[in-house]
């Protein structure tokens, strides 16, 4: 029925099956929008956040998806700037993923702030000392860039391409794409870092505070590293998931193992620096503020295992998997590695967001824990659903994996 929209020579499931696949996601999206509506109309009292947990599930997951979304800019950076042409096979998918991650994050942020209608004040009278101002600027501009990068993929749709002016535009965009790749890379390096800085600068929170270089705390650099290290892993993971779901070969194996290799090298560097940073923090930074760092982990939900898991199990292990050429040959290992790597960055963002706030600063304050309520979960799941839907549509009607057709015909 929708065949005229689908690229010739690739096989796609029937419209009915596609609808059946979309349906549950549409339902989730609807529920999510309802929850979002509640929060916008009745206010944030609809969430489980409180004065201690001023940041909750939303901020944590925003940070997580933005880190994973780094795959977009970093792949673009490797492709257009460092000219790794193999990556052309996944760039479209990466761009769409990035767009989904960032637009989703921004959407949730708009719900998360108490006065969304004033968000633009940051552009009107910004505070250059605030990491958050930096993040706001970068993310908004970068989201625009992503949107622009999305356009050519969209215009290549089999029906849209019939409009001559669209084709002309697509053609021109294609020529200037490296500029956007460069700008995107610049912006991303900055805001990924600033997101880390967000916590590193909190001098009032010994758990989060880090020393650093110039105006940037160490977390600034660690966030960049962890983001670009797991970005490719996430691209790898999603590519694999899509090919499993659609039962298709989408890219040549060497592309995946290349992604893994890149991810591996970056991860090993990250793990190294992260360990050093942790040691400095525990033995110097925290001590110098008069706190006993062991107390940070004195409470059950956030035991020392969190630290170990983050650095070793979800950092070192995937790095080693990715760095062994033999392992890189097996899809199973690649997927395991990516899952671990992505889990690592997510856990790191959880620790920085939630544990930072769970640990008390005043002696007569208790440790506190926070659990999101259904509105928060629903809102986020809704955004995930939005992502799945957008990706599914893109995959069905656009060319996300240029190699797919050839691999299929071979």
């Amino acid at each position: 029925m929708d065949k005229p929209l689908i690229l010739r020579g690739v096989s796609r499931c029937s419209t009915r099956n596609f609808a059946a696949w979309l349906f549950p996601w549409v339902v989730l999206l609807a529920v999510g929008l309802f929850a979002i509506g509640l929060c916008l109309i009745a206010g944030l009292n609809q969430t489980n956040m409180d004065n201690r947990f001023a940041f909750g599930l939303w901020i944590f997951l925003d940070l997580a998806v933005i880190a994973l979304g780094a795959g977009a800019f970093f792949t673009g950076f490797l492709l257009y700037i460092l000219r790794r042409d193999e990556l052309r096979a996944v760039i479209n998918s990466a761009v769409v993923l990035g767009f989904i991650c960032y637009s989703g994050a921004v959407l949730i942020l708009m719900v998360d702030v108490g006065q969304p209608l004033r968000a633009w004040f940051t552009f009107w009278h910004p505070n250059p000392h605030s990491m958050l101002a930096e993040v706001t600027f970068c993310i908004t501009v970068y989201l625009t860039v992503l949107a622009i990068e999305y356009v050519p993929i969209l215009l290549k749709n089999r029906q849209l391409r019939k409009v001559p002016s669209f084709l002309a535009f697509e053609f021109q965009l294609h020529k200037v794409m490296p500029v956007f790749a460069a700008v995107g890379a610049f912006l991303s390096f900055f805001h990924q870092g600033s997101l880390g800085g967000l916590y590193g600068v909190l001098q009032g929170r010994p758990f989060a505070f880090r020393e650093g270089f110039a105006i940037w705390p160490s977390t600034f650099f660690l966030f960049i590293l962890s983001a670009i290290a797991t970005g490719p892993a996430f691209v790898l993971l999603t590519t694999w998931m899509v090919s499993v779901l659609t039962r298709k070969r989408l890219v040549e194996k060497r592309v995946l193992s290349l992604l893994a290799k890149i991810s591996g090298w970056l991860l090993i560097v990250y793990v190294g620096l992260k360990s050093i940073d942790t040691l400095v923090w525990l033995n110097h930074t925290a001590i110098s503020t008069g706190t006993y760092p062991i107390r940070f982990f004195a409470w059950q939900p956030f035991d020392v295992w969190v630290l170990v898991a983050e650095i070793v199990l979800l950092g070192l292990v995937p790095a080693l998997i990715f760095l062994s050429p033999s392992r890189r040959q097996s899809t199973a290992w690649l997927v395991t590695g990516s899952v671990l790597a992505c889990g690592g960055v997510v856990l790191n963002r959880l620790v920085m967001t939630i544990q930072t706030l769970a640990v008390p600063t005043l002696k007569f304050e208790p440790f506190l824990m926070y659990w999101p309520n259904w509105q928060e979960v629903a809102a986020f799941v809704g955004v995930v659903a939005y992502g799945v839907i957008l990706y599914s549509l893109s995959f069905r009607y656009l060319t996300l994996f240029p190699q797919e057709r050839d691999l299929q015909q071979r």
Binding site: K3, P4, L7, R8, G9, W124, H125, P126, P128, H129, A133, E134, F137, C138, V141, T144, V145, I148, K156, R158, R161, P164, S165, L167, A168, F169, E170, F171, Q172, L173, K175, V176, V179, F180, V183, F186, L187, T399, R405, D406, Q409
Partner: protein, 275 residues
């Protein structure tokens, strides 16, 4: 800083911070403006045709983009980079110098399809024949003709309208599939025929004598035709099952009947070079 902000003071921080980011914003905006401007200004129907062919060609499956010189075995395997336009392909002229001109010989019947030697062939299954009156006759080659059979609907260009090589020559609908037949040459339409006449268009070429280097000679066309038939098999039954037509036997004169309806779109797309 901006109007109406009480007690806001400029600092070096602001200058650097805002400097950087509004610069970035400027880059983004100006780039996009340039792209739009170029797209709008450089936009003409003719240009559009070439553009479309370029993008389409990019998206053709690698199998459909093989260089003509593979056909004569002058090169192992090579994917064309010029959108089948050998006129400005230095590789082509190099090949020609190295290996000299083309032998004109061989059986005019390939895999049950006529490939007469008196004409030149375009990869979009059209042929071009130079007439005495200086005009060029354009028609569908045997395979093309068999594929199209008697179209359900045809829209031919108006007499006097221009053709662009690799642009649209005429359009037809067969078995509910929309087909664009690519024009082999640049020129102006003088007369229109149809399936029954055996030719479709008579064209007055732009350049006199018109440059036909980009078209296949019969000699090349024959191995090419073989390939095309294989591609057709593949297209009709990608899993390699089902009736293989034209295996030595006479082809049914309307192949389209042999094409499963649900594959028609793919098949025509592949044979007439639409991605």
């Amino acid at each position: 800083m901006f109007p109406g902000i009480y007690d806001f003071t400029w600092t070096a921080g602001h200058l650097i911070f805002l400097g950087i980011f509004y610069a970035v914003l400027l880059v983004v905006v100006s780039t996009i403006v340039v792209a739009v401007w170029r797209a709008v200004s450089g936009h003409s129907s003719r240009h559009a045709e070439t553009l479309r062919w370029h993008t389409d060609f990019e998206d053709l499956p690698a199998g459909a983009r093989g260089c003509r010189h593979e056909l004569m075995g002058r090169v192992e395997s090579r994917v064309c980079e010029n959108g089948f336009d050998c006129r400005h392909c230095e590789a082509h002229s190099r090949f020609v110098e190295e290996r000299g001109g083309l032998p004109v010989c061989g059986d005019s019947r390939v895999a049950g399809f006529e490939v007469p030697a008196d004409r030149l062939y375009h990869r979009g299954h059209t042929w071009v024949r130079q007439e005495e009156d200086g005009l060029l006759t354009i028609g569908l080659d045997d395979l093309g003709a068999h594929l199209l059979g008697r179209p359900d609907q045809v829209s031919l260009p108006a007499v006097g309208s221009r053709l662009t090589a690799n642009g649209t020559a005429w359009e037809a609908v067969k078995n509910g599939t929309h087909i664009r037949v690519l024009a082999p040459v640049d020129g102006e339409v003088e007369a229109v025929g149809g399936a029954d006449e055996g030719w479709w268009l008579k064209v007055k070429a732009d350049c006199e004598p018109s440059d036909m280097r980009h078209l296949l000679s019969a000699a090349e066309a024959r191995p090419w035709m073989l390939r095309e038939v294989e591609r057709l098999h593949l297209a009709v039954a990608p899993e390699g099952v089902g009736a293989t037509l034209a295996d030595g036997g006479m082809p049914v004169d309307d192949l389209s009947t042999a094409i499963p309806r649900d594959r028609a779109d793919d098949v025509y797309g592949m044979m007439f070079l639409h991605p």
